[in-house]
Amino acid sequence: MRARAGDLAAAASLVTVGVFAVLIVAGGRLAPADPQRGDLAASALGPGAGHPLGTDELGRDILSRLLAGTQDAIVGPLAVALATTLIATALGLLAGYRGGWADAVVMRCADFAHSLPVGLLTIVVVGVIGGGYPMALVTLTVLAIPADTRVVRGVVLAQRGLPYLEAAQVLGLRRTRIAIVHLLPNVAPTVVANCLLTFVYALVSLSALSFLGLGSPAGSPDWGRMLFENRTLLDLNPWASITPALLIVLAAVSMTVLGDRLLDRALDRSRT
């Protein structure tokens, strides 16, 4: 019963992610109006004809801005997740499989970085140094690497004593080849699941930064920025701030469910 509910949730999440994927490609074209062009005479309208989700203070169509903003909302966190996964996987493999001084150096660096307050540090770096959205992406990537490295290293350590690796070593294969060709496929499910969770971390963090006025530029149809800029319209057009919040939650939950499901599958597979 529980497994069936989990499958349903995963299926629903997959559909949601699919819809987001379509919107990333075609969101801007599906928008019924120019997401940047405002009509001051139609300021802060509630839902109605021509504006299904109403307008913001400058009379911009909320639905159009949400659709146009999907690309920025998803692609940025995706970039963080992929970059983090790539680097953390390499470091995790190095530390976990190579061991010795490599393990010591990588893990002490990871321990140090892991002790830093990620949220606060991101706000300080982006707020003080500036650099806007690109700097936010770089900062989040750098700060996410230590945690992901630990995860990958842990999985690699669990694989290290398994017979297939010993067999590969007996055959005289090079370490790099063993790590990439034999070890990596076996830790991949966990890496992918973790990548999805990193995406969620990046999505929520970038939205939070935008809400604080950092990261994305003023006026961009970024969901976090929309939440920030429209929060004062709650009594005039609540949809202007509720809908971007809902989309952030929906994207985060969908990816989390998928990540969890993948992880469960990986664990089941490793047990069998």
Binding site: Q36, A44, E57, L58, A218, L234
Partner: protein
Amino acid sequence: MNQRSRRLLLVATLSTLLPATACGSGPAASSGPAAAAGEVAKVTWAIDSGPRSLDPAHAYDGKSALVYQQIYDSLLYLDAAGRLVPGLATSWSRPDPLTYVYRIRTDARFWDGRPVTAQDAAFSLHRHTDKGVASEFATYFGAVRSVTATAADTVTVKLSRPDPYFRYVPALAGQVMQQAYATAHPENLGTPQGRTMGSGPYRVESFSPATGAVLVRNPSWWGARPAVARLEFKVVSDPETLRLAVQSGSVDGTFLSDPSQSRRWRDGDRLKVQWVPSPQTVYLSFDVTSAPFDDVHVRRAVSLSVDRGGLTAALFGGKARVSRSITPPESWGELASADQVRSVYDGLPDPRHDPAEAKAELARSSHPRGFQVTVPYPASMKWLGDVLQSLQQNLKPLGITLTPQQVPFQEYLAKLYGHRQLGMQIIPYTPEYPDPAGIPALVLGDEQAKSGFNTSGFTTPEIERLLSRQRTADRDERVEGVKRLMSILAEQQPYAPLFYTDIGLALNRRLVFDGAYTIWCNFSQQWAPLIKPAAR
């Protein structure tokens, strides 16, 4: 950097964040229902941040003044129309251009029962000139040579050079504190530990920069007994929380300075909201010393692209007026009659939104294909960002790419005073006293361009002469001079005026503000004695 300008902007901005009060009598908005006789045991007043200090010398900002003006008496005040009226000084005179004489009332007493003397008043004014005190009001006292108690009830101020604006200083920085108390607390005067000794209608029961202050009525105040016995200032920093708090009745009142809040603050069962015109002026500044804004056609093109009327309705719900000049009509004070002022503004060009004419102006410029410009705005003033975003869209068809850049408030200020690559700026400014030459003197001229608030760098020999004459000319010449300055600004557009915004007062219906509520009755005024119970 000109310190006076720095202070002016600081106060302007802070008063924008949390302004203004009301007071006295004059031709201003009424506060609704009549006041009843009787007492109000307690009033809770919301402020969006706590007072920094109770020592005016170290708290030159609207949020602090809002509190400390209720505990001191000031030598003079401004009435609702911006006229100087008596306070602790019953009369004043200027026997010559370099001398001001103030006659102090003899029935005023500090909270400890000691009489307020001319020596206390002279000491309080003199503190602002003392480098050891490092008063934030020091910039107003630049022309002061000496402040002395020349008789038991007389304070005489001598200037080293004529300063036509000094006459307003005792209404801005004329708070009188007890000399003996101040000298006994050199280290912690005005702090929660050291507090202070004033003679105003309220005395301090507690005070914290983080949470606010509690004031209780001073039974020995020389003025009419205030109706409110206890006044609690409560810090509510989030605007929506503040609105809900006042709406629900858990807070009795607050002053509204953010004009973009006007659409959200509406009358309710328990709440009465009142908005009045203020002289806060919002304008675009163009650096005329470098490209592309060294070209007047570019400046005109940008100005013609601003939809002032649309923004006034969309952002401020009509609680703002489209401006024809950066000098607001309210700032003329007593210099000219209402008819004269009206005719001056009627003679200025209408600041219309005209995309076709904007395009034609840009075509005549040396940048017919457009350019890129980044305009910073302070994070705490989102509505300035909204104005820029609207302008960004209107400039796009001209090929001008405007990027609004949200920055911390201090960074915004630093950029303005840095005088480097100012390009285009958006600036809100509130004049502190009613003199129409005040803003031109601040934003024009060579001296202000080098180290002051002339963010456009704009000046001409004629402007220098007109500004210089404002110091010594008679009334008629001054009026003509200001008219000419406004005409030059309208023609050359180093600044594009946008709006004059309103200020508001939100008050629980059980209370009334028994007086005129205008911008001139600002934080330099005692507003708390005017809070009274509403007639049923």
